[in-house]
Amino acid sequence: MRIGTRAVRWGVPVAAVAVVAGIAAAGPVIAAAQGEPSLPRRTAAELLADAAERWQSGRLPQMSGTIVETASLGLPALPAAGGATSPLGLLSGSHQAKVWYGGPDRLRLMVPDEMSESDLVVNGDQVWWWDSAANTATRIKGAPDGAGRPDAVPYAGTVTPRQAAEEALRAAGADTEIAVGEDASVAGRAAYQVVLTPKNAGSLVKEVRLAIDGETLVPLRVQLYAKGTAEPAFEVGFDSVTFTPPAPENFAFTPPPGAKVEESTAPPIARVPHGKDGEVGLDGHDGAAPRVVGDGWDRVVVVSVPKRFEGDVAGAADRAKGGRDGDGVASLANGMLNAATPVSGEWGSGRLIRTKLVTALLTDDGRLLAGAVTPEVLYAAAAAK
């Protein structure tokens, strides 16, 4: 009897664990249960045409939501790769941003960080970049064809689904198979899935999945799958989204008293980070401008690397103590070089870095070749000089 009572009592915490675990797991489960919504069938061509028409006419509905970006490119872990707003930080892990869209010239993008936040506020011809950690408001002037197209604001840190979708569609051509896949559920909404599959054998990209909202035809998610992986290597999409007009105060930004006010042609975030004195010449101001060879999915970027690059990179981790971006570049470069394997062939010799999605080749004659391609494509590009 006594033992029986005890068993009953211990059943309570067991049940509590089950209930809490159930609730914790319920989010994904519910999403999965709704996972096969049925939308009226549309062919890929119809869908793309409809969507393209809406995007071009600029008649996107007002909306607000949370965007989650997840990258698992198989890079070496980057513990020092800056905060959520560092472009390098976006290469690994998961990041969140909030977006409010109130029309073609009203946009707010917010990247929260612990006890700080960065905001991009576009309101008419006013474009502000606010960085609370630095207490700096930057007014961005002369954004290239910025009026009427907020997406054109040179903001490299975070990609909106819309930008990513347009980019993916631009990449599509004769070398891509476009099909409509199974309907998906993104941010609780039924969405069409357009699946882009490269035909080139040399590409490391298995497919790009583009989820388009069934009702509004707004792109909700882009997923990039590398060959031989079940999980997307890169994903950016809405975690939650509502198609209601956002509150107008989201687009009203005035620099708070006490803040530094600067003017710039591009938000600080969009500049490629480098060491304090430009000692890590990744942004190429020592070498020639990057060149693109090949086309379609086999595109390869070729950068001439300054001669002192390697020595600099090896020692940069010690020297780049000022500024987290410098640290990020240094640790990235160090990790890369440690993971590199020496290779050689008719094209010469160098070091090869392989990740799930991107392959890079640093040749001994001072060129860096990179692309979402197999090493063979890089060797061919290296041989072509």
């Binding site: 309570v12 915490p13 006890m115 950690a133 207490n135 708070p256």
Partner: protein, 288 residues
């Protein structure tokens, strides 16, 4: 103290009305907690740290590698409340809460007063609820003390006026105070979840130091786990990852989504720990 404690619990039970009896029990338990010298010393430390931060910022200036929020303190004293919470939530506040909650049952057991407590016709479940209610009061008091001390120090050391939020929006001072109040409530909820955990540990042992150490070690270990990039998938399930989400009150619009999720996590930890503590406490043989 121990005999006094026993009578303090037993005597009001004869008073009429279960609710009033519970309130009087809680009042006497709370009075004991706040009269204990080591608890008073802890509270004094909690009150002094915000003042130290304020003085340091005042003397050294807010430039250099000070955290982004510390740098704001010089501009507005109210921000010191948020900066102090942010600095003390990782370790100092959890330590204080662990000491009180970890001692709750194990302390009585080690002093030999637990069995006298259990002779009162209150029932073990109610005694445990009373102990947890006391922990809740302490959590709220500790977080509020930090904020009030920071507010007073901020008023004395720095200019006051409209507060600039993290989003760059400026709100009136009174609204800033309200937001600080919300931050205190959220932080107290996070501490209460840890308090439930420490109380569960407290029912497992007759050695209060063991229960206190266990909960502090848990806090430190989960913070270490949270910074390992390879274990980032674990982060949303760790209690410590959600404490700093009180910074949602400093955004415009307020980040209620993340704070709501945080409160759910706290509730999950509290429910599981509470059920565990109840099962253990009501089924164990009390010999001391």
């Amino acid at each position: 103290m121990s005999s006094h404690e026993t009578f303090a619990h037993a005597a009001p039970l004869r008073a009429a009305g279960p609710a009033r009896a519970a309130a009087r029990l809680l009042a006497s338990e709370t009075a004991l907690t706040f009269r204990r010298p080591r608890h008073l010393a802890m509270l004094a430390v909690l009150a002094v740290v915000p003042v130290l931060i304020g003085v340091a910022v005042r003397i050294a200036g807010a430039d250099g590698d000070a955290g982004p929020i510390i740098a704001r303190v010089a501009g507005n004293g109210l921000v010191l409340a948020f900066a102090s919470l942010s600095a003390m939530l990782p370790l100092i506040l959890p330590l204080a809460v662990s000491v009180v909650a970890g001692d709750a049952v194990a302390g009585e057991a080690s002093q030999g007063t637990l069995r006298y407590l259990l002779t009162a016709p209150a029932g073990r479940g109610r005694l445990l609820a009373l102990k947890y209610a006391n922990v809740l009061v302490f959590c709220l008091a500790a977080c509020a003390l930090v904020a009030v001390s920071a507010l007073v120090a901020g008023l004395a050391l720095f200019p006051t006026g409209p507060v600039t939020l993290l989003s760059g929006t400026t709100v009136p001072y009174v609204e800033g105070l309200l937001r600080a109040g919300l931050a205190v409530l959220y932080a107290a909820a996070g501490m209460a979840a840890l308090g439930a955990l420490a109380l569960a540990f407290s029912t497992l042992t007759e050695n209060p130091v063991g229960a206190i150490a266990a909960s502090v070690v848990l806090v430190v270990v989960s913070q270490v786990l949270a910074v390992i990039p390879q274990l980032s998938a674990l982060r949303p399930f760790l209690l410590t990852s959600w404490w700093n989400a009180f910074d949602g009150v400093l955004r415009a619009p307020m980040d209620t989504g993340r704070m709501g999720t945080g409160l759910l996590v706290f509730a999950g930890y509290a429910v599981v720990s509470g059920a565990f503590a109840w099962a253990r406490f009501t089924s164990r043989d009390v010999t001391s």
